[in-house]
């Protein structure tokens, strides 16, 4: 048992840190660290900077353009990005559809899509959830009927993150309604510019436009956009679900937010002293910091296990990771007290230099608290994660 990074790991970390110091644009960093809203261009710009370095897809095999890093190195890179405050590399292309294309796509699909994902030429979104199928994904109803060289897609997807910016969507669609629900599903790639597709915003409780409904009305999709075999889509979806899920703990991000929380709590007062020095408040922060230390160690235990990719333990990381993120936002809002109330969308959108109250750090935090209630709902709700633990780990 040796719980220190190796010299090679440390050297890698220094290199990552040096790259970020030199290449992360200050305006992007400021937006991320201060919880302002990111534009399409913000995401693309950062993706392309990283892609130029060859690091945009850390988990990809070298043959497709991956950097050939170990699990520990990937973890370090995620940590350093989070620490620096980079915009995220959105997962829908790089970490979600790409592994499926690599594993089940044909050569033409690989040759066409993968480079465009790597370079962010195509912005992808995910067409899984439907209004009636959230946790029970396999009950989805969107249909794709074969008609000559095309599928005709009809139905509706929902919770589609940033679909308003997307070039492509990967969808689970029903191609056979006569069999058990898991057996009639196919995995289809669809161009968002195809006629018949309508994107309707869903406004979040912090008034941000982050997710959408996507409607398909007789949308013609070429059959060559089918991944693998018809009616095998559920298998591909499950493959994806088991893929690269340790990042879900968001340890790096939470470490950065913990520092931000401490900053806020040092600049707001109780009895004339910084709140962070108040014993009751400090005990809550400390307890959370300890939970995060424990989670970081648990993540490292999981990823350094030589044997296999993270299995159901990922559910533990998801549950605790999301709870920690939520508690950080709670404690931030608590530190602000009444200063949490002012709400200034103009400033949040980057259309004003300062918040209406003059308190730029405070302005986004109540919205951040409310918005982050989503982390225990999306990606398989924490209730679903506990079902997984129950069944896969505990055998109940």
């Amino acid at each position: 048992m040796d719980l220190n990074y190796t010299a090679a790991d440390l050297a890698f970390r220094d290199a990552a840190r040096a790259f970020l110091d030199a290449n992360l644009p200050g305006d992007l960093q400021k937006k991320v660290r201060n919880h302002l809203r990111l534009s399409r261009q913000d995401y693309v710009r950062w993706h392309q900077i990283v892609a130029k370095q060859g690091w945009a897809a850390p988990a990809w095999p070298v043959e497709y353009g991956g950097p050939g890093w170990s699990a520990t190195q990937r973890h370090i890179w995620e940590e350093e990005c989070a620490r620096a405050g980079t915009p995220p590399i959105l997962p829908f292309g790089v970490n979600m559809v790409a592994p499926v294309i690599m594993a089940f796509g044909n050569e033409a699909q690989k040759a066409h899509y993968l480079p465009r994902i790597l370079s962010c030429e195509d912005w992808w979104c995910q067409g899984y959830s439907e209004p009636g199928s959230g946790s029970d994904l396999a009950s989805l109803k969107t249909t794709a009927e074969r008609s000559g060289d095309h599928y005709i897609v009809n139905g509706q997807k929902t919770w589609t993150t940033l679909a308003q910016h997307a070039d492509m969507i990967f969808c689970l669609v029903r191609t056979d309604t006569t069999v058990r629900k898991q057996e009639g599903i196919s995995f289809l790639l669809i161009d968002m510019k195809t006629p018949g597709i309508t994107v309707r915003p869903i406004i979040m409780l912090d008034e941000d436009h982050e997710v959408n409904e996507v409607f398909f009305d007789n949308v013609k999709v070429p059959v060559q956009n089918l991944i693998g075999q018809e009616n095998k889509g559920w298998t591909y979806a499950k493959y994806l679900l088991g893929h690269e899920r340790t990042g879900i703990a968001a340890v790096g991000r939470s470490k950065r937010e913990l520092l931000f929380l401490k900053k806020i709590a040092s600049e707001h007062y109780k009895h004339g002293k910084p709140l962070l020095q108040d014993p009751v408040y400090a005990a809550k922060v400390a307890s959370l910091e300890i939970e995060l230390m424990a989670l970081e160690t648990t993540v490292l235990r999981v990823i350094t296990r030589a044997s296999h990719a993270p299995g159901p333990e990922a559910s533990l990381l998801k549950v605790r990771g999301s709870e920690i993120q939520q508690q950080l936002t709670e404690l931030m809002v608590e530190a602000l007290g009444p200063d949490a109330l002012p709400f200034d969308t103009v400033y949040l959108e980057g259309k004003a230099d300062h918040a209406v109250t003059g308190d730029d750090a405070a302005a986004p935090l109540a919205g951040y608290y409310f918005n982050f209630r989503k982390t225990s709902i999306y990606g398989g709700s924490n209730e679903i994660q506990k079902n997984i633990i129950t069944q896969m780990i505990l055998g109940l």
Partner: protein, 379 residues
């Protein structure tokens, strides 16, 4: 001992609820919140017609002389209906005028609905501490001059007059030396910066620059405003507890309904025991919070200041704890729909969370509860 409402109280509540159900639905409110002013004159006038503004005002000034319990009934409906008009701010402000005892004309205007009030008490860096006052009141001829900046003044820009705390003596956090004034909003030197709050209401930064007021603007004694401020703050906190209980009631009912209708895996999600027990926990929180909120309203005028502080702080703590648990769990049980702007659930959650941060949060009131003499006694 009797926990039932009187018939008149029930009638007030029913009338208010009927109007909200009929004319103050989710879409109507949405339009008001996103309008330029953020409040609706039509809605305000209806509140006036229903007698809501007259309710807290003494009979001599044309009101119904309503007790804290009477207001508790009304504020529950305000919370349930997510009403964004400056009703709380006005009723709270009126309590200062009532305690001061020499403000008959303004109280008459409150009763008739002509005058809205706001309480400009908080300052940057004070957080929940109302005695942390840097705003200065100095002698100015026959009257006073006020200088300083008040922050997060609820409905500050919608008010015709402001209740202002200012320091006429003492150090920054002393309770002694605080004076209270009522200042017309159009007094020269009063600069109001209006903004939205995240729960769909309005608040303002209010700056006082060389604001001259006459001697009659002073509420109570010069430098002796703390007891009045403390009592009126408790009154305000008890109103907010009632509003929060109303919001929780509505949110709880909506969540229960959702569990009965939303299906996953071919069955209503209310059939899952883990969710059932969570709802049972929410139910217990709700009833415990309701009990404490009732007790606070009932004890408001018990005449024993320590008992009042103890019970009001206890209520704000318990309601705050329940608000957080019920709010977060209701959103969780609603799944994705819970985090959108599209259901009332999210708006109840937001309002409840902001009430938590107004007039003292859980930790503030726990500490105040502990600071009362009785806490350390053990026989």
């Amino acid at each position: 001992m009797d926990f039932n409402l009187k018939e008149e109280q029930q009638q007030f509540a029913d009338a208010l609820r009927r109007w909200i159900d009929k004319d103050y639905g989710f879409d109507v409110r949405h339009r008001i919140v996103h309008s330029h002013s953020g409040v609706s004159d039509v809605a305000w006038n209806t509140l006036v017609e229903l007698g809501m503004t007259a309710l807290p005002v003494p009979e001599e000034q044309g009101g119904f002389n309503g007790s804290a319990v009477d207001l508790w009934v009304v504020m529950q409906e305000i919370g349930r209906g997510l009403v964004v008009e400056p009703y709380f701010a006005t009723v709270w402000g009126a309590q200062f005028l009532k305690l001061a005892g020499n403000q008959h004309r303004l109280l008459e205007e409150v009763a008739s609905g002509e005058l809205k009030l706001a309480c400009a008490l908080g300052e940057k860096h004070a957080r929940h501490e109302l005695s942390d006052v840097k705003t200065i009141a100095s002698i100015n001829g026959e009257g006073y001059r006020i200088d300083g900046t008040k922050t997060v003044v609820i409905h500050g820009a919608q008010a015709g007059a402001l209740i202002v705390s200012a320091r006429s003596a003492g150090a920054q956090r002393d309770t002694n030396g605080i004076s209270l004034f009522v200042v017309p909003a159009d007094t020269p030197g009063v600069i109001v910066r209006d903004y939205r709050t995240i729960d769909g209401q309005r608040a303002a930064t209010v700056q006082f620059s060389h604001v001259a007021v006459p001697a009659s603007a002073l509420l109570g004694k010069l430098g002796g405003g703390w007891d009045m401020l403390d009592e009126a703050a408790d009154y305000g906190a008890s109103l907010l507890c009632a509003e929060a209980v109303g919001a929780m009631d509505a949110l709880f009912a909506a969540t229960l309904e959702y569990l009965k209708t939303r299906k996953q895996f071919g069955t209503p999600i209310g059939g899952f025991q883990a969710l059932q027990h969570r709802m049972a926990d929410m139910y217990i929180h709700l009833e415990q919070a309701r009990s404490m909120a009732m007790l606070a309203a009932a004890r408001m005028s018990c005449g024993d200041a320590e008992e009042r502080r103890r019970v009001v702080s206890a209520a704000k703590v318990r309601v705050g704890q329940a608000s957080r648990f019920i709010g977060q769990q209701a959103v969780q049980l609603h799944g994705g729909m819970g985090v959108t702007d599209e259901l009332p659930a999210a708006h109840h959650f937001k309002r409840m969370a902001m009430i938590e941060l107004t007039l003292g949060d859980v930790d503030h009131h726990l500490e105040r509860f502990i600071a009362q003499r009785g806490f350390q006694q053990h026989s």
